[in-house]
């Protein structure tokens, strides 16, 4: 163990000293002309202790002192894998489905709210996955399509009284058009330029939504949107149908669940279709794909459009649920969150993205207890996740093997 420690103590010590040097000017220099070391030291000691514990664990792990714990754990994991491996996949899917259907009955309002959020973000994450994961187009303005979907439903419902079910395909369609419009100028650009241009487009859409008062009522947002409604037979004065508003949270949960299931099935089918394979070839090497006869132009547009479609659906639902929509919900930070879910979960892997969405929605809620430290921990955990698991929590299984992997 001492050998392991010797290897790491130098960067560790330098790192801690560096941290102290960074913290002190922020905490120790005061505007009244005094210098202090007290606060700095306290904060620094807390952080140093935390890092030291991690380092200790790391060193112990490396040098084998922890095998007394890790080996039985690995064995246990092996046993679990073996037993669960015998159960076919469809049983698991059924179990998840039953759990998801029964969820509202088992839990309280807050948990349902969180779960509905997770489902919306699953739709968003899978949609972004089509653009980023399958086709390799780095889209940082994805949230604009979400906004288009939401505002479409809001405006149609407010001005023309169209019902949610009718507006759903309309919102999706308009989002698709927006996707194609935004995708078109970017087709000639390479990777990172795409990023900044799509980011620009996302901001443009948000600013337009915020400033175009006559259309979108600007920053006040649009109020008084009706939730989804169905015709329900009522026996009041003879047999007739009356409009029944699905306002209660568990109804909204089921609608969200239906949308999410639809998205999962759709994305899965896209993934394993010819279009999906063409997208993957564009992602891997665009020039080669072009040479092989893949129409990169159309397919890239299609990728944007399909991704936008799912965002439009999610947006329309989001609007119906909140019954209020405002431009503040469609900032770049939201786009970044959705991108994080996709990458965190594992690019291109559907179960990974589901897990990523769940993690990124539930964890800040759990961290709500920390209030002001919430976003700090979130940022730090994103960095840590990337350092230790850059391929994501559940990396996608690649179709076919690559040359390098065979030799490995």
């Amino acid at each position: 163990m001492i050998q392991e420690f010797k290897k790491v103590w130098k960067p560790y010590a330098i790192g801690l000293l560096w941290l102290l040097g960074l913290l002190w000017p922020l905490l120790g220099i005061h505007p009244d002309g005094t210098l202090s070391f007290g606060t700095t030291f306290t904060v620094w000691v807390y952080i140093a202790v935390g890092i030291s514990i991690c380092l200790l664990l790391y060193v112990m792990n490396k040098s084998g002192s922890l095998t007394v714990v890790s080996r039985p754990l690995a064995a246990f994991r092996g046993v679990v894998t073996q037993t669960t491996g015998k159960v076919p996949v469809w049983v698991w899917i059924l179990a998840v489905l039953i759990f998801a259907l029964a969820y509202p009955q088992l839990t309280n309002r807050y948990a349902q709210d969180v779960a509905t959020n997770v489902l919306i973000y699953i739709c968003l994450g899978l949609g972004l996955n089509v653009v980023v994961g399958l086709c390799g187009l780095l889209d940082l303005g994805y949230i604009a399509f979400y906004g288009v979907g939401a505002y479409t439903y809001a405006l149609l419902n407010l001005h023309y009284g169209l019902s949610f079910w009718l507006c759903l395909p309309v919102a999706a369609f308009l989002a698709m058009i927006a996707g194609s419009l935004i995708g078109y100028p970017t087709l000639r650009m390479r990777g990172d330029y795409l990023a900044i241009v799509t980011l620009g487009f996302g901001e443009i859409v948000r600013i337009l939504l915020n400033n175009w008062m006559s259309l979108t009522n600007g920053p006040n947002g649009i109020l008084g949107i009706k939730p989804p409604a169905i015709y329900w037979p009522s026996f009041a004065d003879g047999f007739s149908f009356e409009i029944f508003y699905l306002k209660k949270l568990h109804y909204l949960y089921y609608i969200a669940l239906a949308l999410a299931v639809f998205t999962i099935i759709a994305v899965r089918n896209l993934n394993f279709s010819r279009i999906g394979r063409a997208w993957e070839s564009i992602r891997e090497d665009e020039t080669a794909a072009e040479l092989m006869g893949v129409n990169t132009f159309l397919l890239k547009l299609l990728a944007y459009a399909m991704g936008a479609l799912f965002a439009g659906l999610a947006g329309a639902f989001f609007c119906a649920r909140m019954r209020f929509v405002s431009p503040e919900s469609f900032t770049f930070l939201e786009s970044a969150m959705v991108l994080s879910m996709v990458v965190l979960g594992g690019l291109g892997s559907i179960p990974g993205i589901i897990l990523g969405a769940a993690a990124l929605i539930v964890l800040p809620e759990v961290f709500r207890e920390f209030e002001t430290y919430r976003m700090l921990v979130f940022g730090a955990s994103m960095v840590v996740m990337m350092l230790f698991r850059p391929a994501g929590l559940i990396p996608a299984k690649r179709m076919g093997a690559r040359g390098e992997e065979k030799e490995g």
Binding site: V114, P219, N220, E328, E371
Partner: protein, 378 residues
Amino acid sequence: MRKKLVVVLVCGLMILPFVMGTAGAKTLKIGSMSPLTGPYASDGTDIKNGVLTAIQVFEENGGVPGYDKIELFPQDTACDPKQAVAAANKLINLEVVGVIGAYCSSSTIPGSETLDEEDIPMLTPASTNEMVTDRGLPYMFRLCGRDDDQAPAAAKFLKEQLKAKTVFIVDDKTTYSQGLADGVSKACKELGIEVVEHDHVNQGDKDFAAVLTKAKAANADILYMSLQGYSPGALMTLQAKRLGLESQIVSQDAMFQPKFMEVAKDAAEGVYITYGFTDTTTPEYKAFEKIYVPKYGPIAAYATYAYDAATVLLKAITQAGSTDPDKIKAEIMKMDFDGVAKRIKFKPNGDSGSSYIAFKIENGKFVPYWHPEKGLLQ
């Protein structure tokens, strides 16, 4: 194998919020919704501190009969409607009996719709948009003034006291500031003041050189700033003075913060601000000051309103002897007393009226300057 792990992990994650609950027998739970992070964190924290002070004062005077302690659950809305709805849901889950909040009108409105489903009273100390109480929600109350009261008062001030003929209006396109700016524009036109231009900046902007150059070229008598928060207002004032703008600067209640002078320094001298009249010489205010300032620092715009809102709620619960929303509402409607910020008396729609006066910044302090009815106060 990984897929099974997904199932276990997802289930685990979904259950997490479920197991987070709170205990506490015989605790009176109230909630607060305000931005504790983000650009408006300073005002949101002021609101939270105001409520905490009210609880402290109440507990020192015996608390609410039937309960051992009063506990506040502060929630962060970050001025984001989505987070406001989530915060409202969490408070419903925590079974609070009333909510003080929120700050941004764009958060209060969706939050109140959520709380209304469970009939939880909501008192906002700071949301001034008309829609907050115009929707007819039964348990929605407002402590601060309304935008459609502040605008005519400001216009009257411009006309009668400052004898202005032309005005250049700037707002930053947020719900509150734009609503107010539009109101002022309309009121000015009615009184015969010419609105030379009504320009906009964006929320969070720092560079106002372009707009101020325009204002300088227009050379109106008045520059009316309607911005969300003291920070852009102070920056605009500073840059205006530096550019040599000669128009008189008049602004709105979001600027009523000691930090405005801190940032704008000398440039803030002579600026007029309309704000709900708060008599700082009343014994109630002095008592509040004595408790609040040592603990939380200088008093900003909405701490007083938040304190009054919490006091109203706690008083209503005490007088009603129960937490039933209808009984609370009945008690609130009966109230008529001197709060810290103003006289507390509610109208049927939940508003409590507003009395906007104009303050002038003299020697780094807000001095009451002009009253719509009484005229010059000096």
